[in-house]
């Protein structure tokens, strides 16, 4: 299996915040599909989307995404 180029904690942070994918999607102005792909590591979000996600979840971008060690 190929190592991910971005480690995403989005699902864990979203669940902690008690939000569904659809609710988070609505907050940042994207579809649920986009949240799903970011959580599954299929899609790497743009800087703008990463910042919006961080703001919606009251955390930092580093709190959501990290480079693999």
């Amino acid at each position: 299996m190929i190592d991910p180029i971005l480690v995403s904690r989005l699902k864990a942070v979203r669940t902690e915040a008690g939000l569904t994918q659809a609710e988070l999607a609505e907050r940042v102005g994207v579809t649920r599909k986009t949240i799903n792909t970011v959580e599954n590591g299929i899609f790497i979000p743009s800087t703008v989307l990463a910042l919006k996600l961080a703001r919606a979840l009251s955390t930092s971008v580093e709190g959501l995404f990290q480079l693999p060690d």
Binding site: A22, A25, E26, G29, V30, T31, R32, K33, T34, N36, T37, I42, F43, P45, S46, L49
Partner: protein, 151 residues
Amino acid sequence: MTKASPGEIAERAQRRRNRMLWLAPMLFFIWQGAFFSSYATPHTPLRTLEIVSLGSHLFLAAVLLFLLATGGGWRHGRVVKALLDDETTRAHRAQAYAAGFWALAVCALGLYAAAPLVQLATGEIAHVLLSVAVAVPALRFVMLERRAARD
């Protein structure tokens, strides 16, 4: 009854778009058989059936290309339209276009290689190239969108 949110409307519109972009390329491939069995040696002047067939093919190609390029949702408001053309959709579209480019290049290479062996009319070559240019990106796009929607 509660009013659907823009996200829900966009999801439904996405599913409709995927169905359309999946079914129409299938029609294109079925059309290939009909095309090469009749229009490949067209009557002069063209019969009504041939004109309708060619016209429908062109019309469907134009609609599909427009749907792929714009993301659809024309009858919805600005918010839903923006959701239908969000970040992943644009990324999928770019990947679909790339797949279409390579499919066209391979198809053109094949036609070029076959040219000394098989006589092909301009209309036939245009038909094949247009079908590949429409069907391959549309199918690739749907594939990516469906994969993205899976949990």
